[in-house]
Symmetry: C2
Subunit: 495 residues, 2 copies
């Protein structure tokens, strides 16, 4: 096991990397500097999109704020990796799509532009050792060419999930009329009863691991429906397609310069209110105020916003103690398991073959891929997700072993040119000290109905943010931004 | 929210309590004393039965040891509460039974005697508003008098569970031939397919909450089978009956003077090797040694034994980081939800009514009870478990509210005399800072097959103990002792 810093370094090709990006941005101070003690209105734990957005809104309302960040960079689960060619690629969250309006507005306000994820040409299905191109789009979205019975079954299952999701009150899924029934079984149990054609089960399994980086057996059916319900906004009910699709879905757009530009630029507007290298260890009530103690920094505040994933919020020591409902919730929202691998080439050669770079596969270590090239296609990049069981199986593998497995897969899908990238980047979120999995917390049966009420409920002067607390687009950058905006309103109403 | 100390105080009637018991015992030092820095062979985190047993065996082998305990008492989930009448009752683990030989041997070695749990007279079934006494024992154990179809169904389900449990390799449940099938569904899903008669489902539900303090929907079927398989020893395959029964089962015997006498006396033999008030915050490798930092104490050691529940082990900061397989395991083994309520009377009046004090109920806040009177019956005590959903629903209730609900139940079961106890004790493990639930960690679907291998696997020089790591009697005091003995052997082989 290496330390977090070692992991970060290992994942960066060409020396300079994400840490440099953050460090050279204007603003953030380090915990060892003159920041040792501060007295503010609101202390915020975590400089991901949620914490930074909350800070922006609180500062705009005239409040004094400090954001304490454990890492030596901002952005949380959003991370630019520097490539050997001097360009960047994304190691974490990177896409946005329709109805993800809050992330879009934030990026717009910071001058970070979007561009369409490359989506011209055919998708590829790799199944039973056979490679079949297929067209994107159509009434059912991009449905891989499996047997007709499987397609019909998958369409019915998809429609059922969307219908059931409509019955889930998005701000209180535990009040759904069938909440008890849906929260007592795994998604796997439900799929086995409904996706009865093997190829339909395959398609749903791939959708599940692609969306959650978790296997269907790990998830409560209610949690899956809640997540689908959240893939929209007040005017557009959430759908499974909006989670899985590229055009018209959550993978539609990318950010010019890499998604981490958004939190980096946002942090820059906050100046030395953002303190890096300051992992928070304890939050202690002292009279009407809270003392937030981090390595190298102590902040006193009237209100505290904790904007880190639930399993990490559990690792902070609270005095007074968290109520059992909150503590046991944080014991029950583990992070899923994900890594991202990016192979870089001189050109996006697959485009000339009529392929869009998107694969759905029944084997290998990467079962879904995207064309991650920059907007000007000045180089080519293929990005593959390593997810759920496959991520876990590679957690202890060396980077060379993972690289070999990924390049084998890419060669199978895209031909021999894929075997020789000019550089290769790998980011393994399970091994990151201040995330320990990804992209998002998941809930097993029984969690939402018994503990869901504690997801957002403030405890005294302590408020909760982070994508897991968002009503819409939980698990996405947009959910993080929404949670930051919501928590800022909550705190302002209370101050 | 009150601090942990406040919770402890609230649960103690009559002033003096468990803390006093521990504090007056010979031995343990406090972290604020001369114990500030020590250099030993083995540092042990947690002075529950597991940590103390490991310490005993390591000391016996000539090794130097320090046990760092977060609380101001030893015993972990084993706790004597002082009653208003000057006697004690148990707020935590209290029973032992057949095949729990390691806990029995430990108690014997310390001169702590056992006595039979009171089991003379009839059990009570309270169901559909009706109170029905029934005899204990018989070929199927103590089966409440439900309809014949329900009894037949329950017997078949019980036999099936025992048969399936026999197919679970006790030291590696993830290798069971049907591990994948059993680990992809909740126990609830399996029960609904198999306990099809409503009264049979009721009996199995009560068995589940009584055993796990969790609802069937929270548990992987494989985890339930693994737990049943562990309710025995190498010569006696585990059975469901051995978990649920009083005579012949895990509730057969109690300890004279209260179960906490065992860890208190064991700690006394270790003298100032046990350091109280020393919550461990970090474990850092430094060359070939580890630095274990606690509030008020720092210990340097060649090996470290972490003997606390998995969700609390996750709250220690490790450098180097834990591997993902271990960290994500500890995100996925939440504590179940339990409180114990004990009502004390001048006499065990129910005995004169021909009742043994044991109830199975379909309503109220306590769905199972025991006669918790001392061996000489110098006073009477009824103990009720508040478990799973019922415990969660009362987590935020005042002690007066819980007391009123418990006494209402006891009056329903045992008549008007139960309404006026001479004293009342309540211990709510969900609210305890250094347990945060109980009696034991539980596993949802997918956890054992993907993460079970990390339960006991040492990470460098860090070894794992605690009842959750025991092959036999996980979740019981016997499992804790077995885990301490196993980890001591493991460390001695490595030193």
């Amino acid at each position: 096991m290496a330390s977090e810093r070692q992991f970060s370094r290992r994942t960066l090709i060409g020396g300079a990397g994400a840490l440099t990006l953050a460090a050279t941005a204007a603003g953030p101070a380090s915990a060892s500097a003159a920041t040792a003690k501060r007295d503010v209105d609101v202390a915020i734990v975590g400089a991901g999109l949620a914490g930074l957005t909350a800070a922006r809104d609180l500062v705009a309302a005239g409040k004094s704020v400090v954001v304490l960040e454990a890492r030596d960079r901002v952005g949380g689960r959003v991370l630019n990796l520097r490539l050997a060619n001097g360009q960047v690629t994304e190691g974490g969250g990177e896409f946005i799509g329709p109805t993800q309006t809050r992330m879009k507005a934030l990026a717009d306000s910071l001058g970070v532009e979007t561009f369409a994820t490359y989506n011209t040409g055919d998708n590829l299905l790799y199944k039973d050792g056979k490679r079949t191109p297929y067209a994107t789009g159509g009434p059912l979205g991009s449905v891989p060419p499996v047997d007709v019975a499987g397609l019909a079954n998958a369409a019915i299952v998809q429609a059922s999930l969307n219908d059931m999701a409509k019955q889930v009150p998005i701000d209180a899924p535990w009040t759904a009329p069938k909440a008890d029934e849906w929260d007592r079984q795994t998604f796997e149990t439900w799929l086995r009863a409904n996706a009865v054609v093997p190829s339909a089960k395959f398609l749903l399994d791939v959708a599940c691991t692609s969306i959650f980086s978790a296997e269907p057996r790990e998830l409560s059916l209610l949690f899956v429906l809640y997540y689908i319900a959240g893939a929209g906004d007040a005017d557009h009910p959430g759908t499974l397609e909006r989670l899985t699709e590229t055009a018209g879905g959550a993978q539609e757009l990318r950010f010019v310069g890499g998604s981490q530009l958004v939190p980096v630029k946002l942090a820059a507007t906050l100046g030395d209110r953002v303190v890096l290298n300051a992992p928070v260890r304890s939050i202690t009530k002292s009279g009407a105020r809270y003392v937030v103690s981090a390595d190298g920094a102590t902040v006193t505040a009237s209100r505290v916003v904790v904007a880190v994933p639930p399993p990490l919020a559990a690792r902070i020591s609270y005095d007074p103690l968290m109520p059992a409902s909150r503590d046991q919730l944080t014991q029950r929202l583990p992070m899923a398991s994900v890594a991202k691998a990016i192979a870089v080439y001189d050109t996006p050669f697959w485009r000339a073959d009529g392929l869009n770079g998107q694969v759905v596969s029944d084997s290998g270590v990467i079962s879904s891929t995207f064309d991650n090239s920059p907007p000007d296609a000045s180089f080519g990049a293929l990005m593959g997700f390593i997810e759920a069981d496959k991520a876990r199986q590679l957690d202890a593998a060396s980077e060379a072993e993972v690289r070999a497995a990924v390049l084998k897969d890419l060669t199978t899908y895209f031909g021999p040119k894929a075997a020789a990238p000019t550089s290769f980047a790998l980011h393994r979120w399970n091994n990151e000290q201040y995330t320990r999995g990804g992209p998002v917390s998941i809930a097993a049966p029984g969690v939402l109905t018994q503990y869901g009420r504690s997801l957002r409920a403030p405890v005294g002067g302590i408020h909760w943010a982070g994508t897991e607390t968002s009503v819409y687009w939980m698990g996405f950058m947009d959910g993080a931004v929404r949670s930051g905006e919501r928590v800022a309103r909550e705190v302002l109403a209370a101050l």
